[in-house]
C-alpha cells in the first residue's frame, strides 16, 4: 500500500520535535520517527506519540454553528461569516473599534497569527493578544528590556555544551522531555545541574544541587546568588565593562541579600545557595533554564530580569553552552509573539505605542489610520468584558474559560459580551459559551510555519484534509476579513509567509524554499544568511550595543496564607497532558494513564487533616472550590500543595492578581484550604 510520510512538527509543546505522519489513502494512519531532526533526534514524549488520537475524534467540530437557546444549530459558512461581520461591525459602529477584542492562538501557524493581528489592526482595534500573556509575557517584556531580544538565547542541543545548568522554575523532565536528553549529555561530560523549585519533580532527579525554595521567593534567591558572586570576585569584569550598563546600581541593590537573609525568605540553606552561586559563576559555560516557575508571578518581570542580571554579570551569554533559556509552552507561542499577536507589539516587536510603527505598517498594508497605542491584554479583556466596555470578542484556538485564572469569573465576563465567536477544533468550555462557533482545521490538516522555543522556524506540511466543513484558520480569517470589507488575498500559507519575510526583519531570510529539515533560527536577515542559533554573540540590540542590567527587589506574592486558607497552592503541569487539556483529555492513551484531577499534599499535612491516599477532597480558595483526588507525597514541603491545571477545577482557585507590567496572572501562588469531602 503506497504510504507517504509527511514531515510535521509536534502540536504540543514548544520544543518543536519533528516526526512524520504516515498517510495512506488520504488518512493519517500512524507516526514515524525522524531521527535526523536536530533537536529531538527522532524521540517523542507520550503526547507526541499520541498526537494523532485527536485527529479523528468524534468531538471534532465539523460545521459552523450558532447558538439557539442552551444549544447550537448548524448553519452555513455564508450565514456564519455574515454573523461575524454583523457582530463585530455592530460593536465597532456603536462603541468604536476598541470595543472589539481579538484573541489569537499560540497553537496556530505564524501565518495565521500574522493575519489575525493584521485583521484586528486593519479594523482599527488595538486589542489583539494571545495566551503568551498567561505564560511568558514577562520574558517578552523583561528580556527585550535587558537583552534586546525575547527568545531562548541558545538552541536546545547546545545544552550538551554546558558545564553548569541552573534550572529554576522549570520542570523540563515533564514539560519539555526532550530537553532531558541534552542535559543528560551535559552531565555525562561533567556538567553540574542545579535545580531550584518548591516541588521535587522528576527534573529534580537531575540535580547535583537542590534548592527547594518557598513559592514566589525567586528574586531573593537570585539576588542572594548575585551578591555572593560580587562579594567573592566571581564577576566577569571584562564582559561587564564591554557589554553592559547598570552594574553599579546592581551592586547597591543586592547589598542586603546576605545568605542568612536569603535563607530566611526562601528556606534554602545559606551554604547551599552560596555553593550554587559559586558553581554557576565559576563554570566556563553556564546556562539558565527557566519557565513558568519564574514567569507566572506578580513579580514575573522582576524574576526574569533578575536572571538576566545573573547571566550578564558573569558573562554567561553569547557563547556555546551558556545563555538564558526560557522554555516556552505552546508549539507556536514564540511565533505568535514574533508575529505581533500581542497588545504592546506589532509584528517583529515594533512597539504599538510608537507612531512610526503605525506609519510603517500603514504603508506596508495599504491601510490608513492603523491604531497607535497598547491595547488590552488577554487578561484585561476579561476585566473589560466584565465591565461591559468590551462588546465583542473573536477567539481563535484558546480556552480562557479553562486556562484563565479565577476562571468562573472569566466565564461570567465572557457571558457578558454582546457577541462572542470562537474558532476551534473542539467544543471547549469557552466555545460552549459562544454565539457562534467556527470549525477549524487541526495542525496536520493545514500548511504553515511554527516557531519553537529555540526561535527555530519550521514548516509543517498538510498531511490530510480537515473534516467536513472545517477550514484552516488562515482561510477563515481571510473570509472574515473580506466579509468586513478588507482585502485579504492570501491563497495559501506561502503567500502570507512572503509578506512576513518582507515586513518582519528577523524572518527576512526565512523563505519557503529555504525551510527544510530543522528549519531556520531567527534572526535571519537575508536569504543567504544561515540563521542565528546563538544570540548576543556580537553584543546586544540595545543602545550602545550594551545589555541593560536592571536591579530588582524582592516582593512577596500577592496572596498570603491565612487561618481560613492555610496552604500555598501552586499549580503546574504533568507530562501526560498539555495545558488546558482540550486535546490531551480527548486522547485515550494519555487519559488512561492520567485520568483525573489530583492534589499533591505532604503526608504530615494529610495526616493532620485525616486525609488518606486516593481520597476525594475539597479544595477551596477565596474564588471558589473544587474537588480532587489526594496524592500524598513528600515532593512538597509542609504547607504547600500542588494541582495540575489540565483538568477543569484548578483555575477556579487561582488568583487573577497580575504582574503590573506584563499582566501575567500569578498562577504559581494562591492561598487555599483542603478538607475531607464529608
Amino acid at each position: 500500500m503506497p504510504k507517504s510520510l509527511v514531515p510535521t512538527i509536534c502540536p504540543y509543546c514548544a520544543a518543536g520535535c519533528g516526526f512524520y505522519i504516515a498517510v495512506e489513502k488520504g488518512r493519517a494512519t500512524g507516526i514515524e520517527y525522524m531521527p535526523e531532526h536536530p533537536a529531538n533526534e527522532g524521540a517523542l514524549c507520550p503526547k507526541g506519540n499520541a498526537a494523532l488520537e485527536i485527529i479523528y475524534h468524534q468531538d471534532r467540530l465539523r460545521y459552523p454553528m450558532k447558538r439557539k437557546g442552551e444549544g447550537f444549530v448548524r448553519i452555513s459558512w455564508d450565514e456564519a461569516l455574515g454573523m461575524v461581520a454583523r457582530g463585530i461591525g455592530k460593536a465597532i459602529k456603536e462603541a468604536g473599534p476598541d470595543s472589539v477584542g481579538f484573541l489569537s492562538s499560540s497553537k496556530c501557524t505564524n501565518e495565521e497569527n500574522y493575519l489575525m493581528e493584521k485583521l484586528a489592526r486593519c479594523l482599527k482595534s488595538r486589542n489583539i493578544d494571545s495566551c503568551a500573556r498567561l505564560c511568558h509575557a514577562p520574558s517578552v517584556v523583561g528580556l527585550n528590556r535587558t537583552l534586546g531580544a525575547a527568545g531562548m538565547t541558545n538552541p536546545i542541543p547546545d545544552l550538551a555544551n554546558s558545564k553548569c545548568v541552573l534550572v529554576i522554575g522549570s520542570n523540563f523532565a515533564e514539560n519539555h522531555p526532550i530537553i532531558s536528553r541534552w542535559v543528560h549529555k551535559a552531565k555525562d561530560l561533567g556538567a553540574i545541574v542545579i535545580v531550584a523549585d518548591p516541588r521535587l519533580t522528576p527534573t529534580a532527579w537531575f540535580a547535583d544541587m537542590l534548592l527547594q525554595l518557598w513559592p514566589g521567593t525567586d528574586v531573593a534567591l537570585v539576588n542572594g546568588m548575585i551578591k555572593v558572586i560580587i562579594d567573592e570576585g566571581l564577576i566577569d569584569k571584562e564582559f561587564i565593562s564591554l557589554w553592559t550598563k547598570g552594574f553599579e546600581s546592581l551592586v547597591d541593590a543586592v547589598k542586603d541579600y546576605t545568605p542568612e537573609k536569603v535563607e530566611e525568605i526562601t528556606g534554602v540553606p545559606a551554604s547551599d545557595m552560596v555553593m550554587a552561586a559559586r558553581a554557576y559563576a565559576r563554570s566556563p559555560a553556564s546556562a539558565i533554564v527557566y519557565s513558568m516557575g519564574i514567569t507566572q508571578h506578580t513579580t514575573g518581570t522582576d524574576n526574569v530580569q533578575a536572571l538576566a542580571n545573573l547571566a550578564l554579570i558573569t558573562g554567561q551569554i553569547g557563547k556555546e553552552g551558556s545563555g538564558v533559556l526560557p522554555l516556552r509552552g505552546h508549539n507556536n507561542v514564540q511565533g505568535a509573539c514574533d508575529m505581533g499577536a500581542l497588545a504592546e507589539f506589532y509584528p517583529g516587536y515594533r512597539k504599538a505605542d510608537d507612531p512610526e510603527t503605525a506609519k510603517f505598517f500603514s504603508e506596508a498594508w495599504g491601510v490608513d489610520g492603523l491604531p497607535v497605542g497598547r491595547g488590552l491584554t488577554a487578561t484585561e479583556m476579561i476585566d473589560s468584558a466584565d465591565a461591559g466596555d468590551l462588546k465583542a470578542l473573536y477567539i481563535m484556538g484558546e480556552d480562557p474559560a479553562n486556562s484563565d485564572p479565577r476562571c468562573l469569573h472569566a466565564a461570567e465576563a465572557l457571558f457578558n459580551l454582546d457577541f462572542l465567536v470562537v474558532q476551534d477544533i473542539f467544543m471547549t468550555a469557552t466555545a460552549q459559551m459562544a454565539d457562534l462557533v467556527l470549525p477549524a482545521a487541526a495542525w496536520a490538516e493545514k500548511d504553515g510555519t511554527f516557531t519553537g522555543t529555540e526561535r527555530r522556524v519550521q514548516w509543517a506540511g498538510q498531511a490530510i484534509e480537515p473534516p467536513e466543513e472545517a477550514r484552516s484558520d488562515l482561510a477563515i480569517i481571510c473570509d472574515v476579513a473580506r466579509a468586513m470589507g478588507l482585502r485579504f488575498d492570501y491563497p495559501d500559507a506561502e503567500s502570507v509567509l512572503s509578506e512576513i519575510n518582507r515586513l518582519v526583519p528577523q524572518y527576512k531570510g526565512i523563505t519557503r524554499d529555504r525551510l527544510g529539515l530543522g528549519g531556520i533560527t531567527w534572526p535571519c536577515p537575508s536569504t543567504d544568511h544561515p540563521g542565528t542559533p546563538i544570540l548576543h554573540s556580537q553584543g546586544f540590540k540595545l543602545p550602545g550595543n550594551r545589555a541593560s542590567i536592571v536591579p530588582v527587589q524582592y516582593r512577596p506574592p500577592s496572596e498570603s496564607v491565612s487561618p481560613e486558607y492555610p496552604f500555598v497552592l501552586t499549580t503546574g503541569r504533568v507530562v501526560l497532558h498539555h495545558n488546558a487539556g482540550s486535546m490531551t483529555r480527548r486522547s485515550p492513551s494519555l487519559m488512561e494513564r492520567s485520568p483525573e484531577l489530583f492534589i499533591e499534599i505532604n503526608p504530615r499535612d494529610a495526616d493532620r487533616l485525616g486525609i488518606s491516599e486516593g481520597e476525594v477532597v475539597c479544595v477551596a480558595s477565596a474564588r471558589g472550590e473544587t474537588t480532587a483526588i489526594a496524592r500524598l507525597t513528600d515532593k512538597l514541603k509542609e504547607g504547600v500543595v500542588f494541582m495540575p491545571f489540565h483538568f477543569p477545577g484548578t483555575n477556579i482557585l487561582t488568583t487573577d492578581a497580575r504582574d503590573a507590567e506584563a499582566k501575567i496572572p500569578e498562577y504559581k501562588v494562591a492561598a487555599c484550604r483542603v478538607s475531607r469531602r464529608d
Binding site: 500512524g30 520517527y33 524521540a43 517523542l44 561533567g190 521535587l200 522528576p202 532527579w205 507530562v575 492513551s589
Partner: protein, 145 residues
Amino acid sequence: MPVYVDINRCIGCRSCEVACKNAHSGRSYVEVKVIDHRASVPVMCHHCEEANCTLACFSGALTKDGARTAFDIHKCTGCGLCAMACPFGVVWTDKTAHKCDLCGGAEIPACVATCPAQALSKDQEVAAKRARARAAVAAVLGGRR
C-alpha cells in the same frame, strides 16, 4: 538482546508505553512506575537465557529463538502459566499471553527510538559506560565543583 534500561536516565514520561502500544495494535508490553517519588523504572521482558516462561508453557507458544524469547500467538491458549512462571511479572495474560517481542526484530525497537532521555538501549553496557565516562570526567576535573 532485550531492551536494557539505564534507570539513571528515565524521567518517567511513559512515552515508551505509548510507543509500544502504537506499535502493537493497542497493547503495551512495557510498564513504567515511579518508585518513592525519586526514580522511575520501566520493566519489560528480559528475554532471559534460561526463560522460565518457555519451561512452563505446555503448548510450545513460548520458545527460545537464539537470544530472543519468541512467542507464537497461534499456539497460545491463554492458560496463564507463563505469567505465573515469570520472576519479573513481565508476561501479561488476557485471552492470550502478551510480552515484549522486540518489535518483531526491528533494528531499533519503538521504545528505544522514542525515549526522550535515551534511557532505553539494546546495549547492555550503556548505563555502565555512561557511569564510567562520568567518573573519568570527574577525575579529570579533579573534583573542582
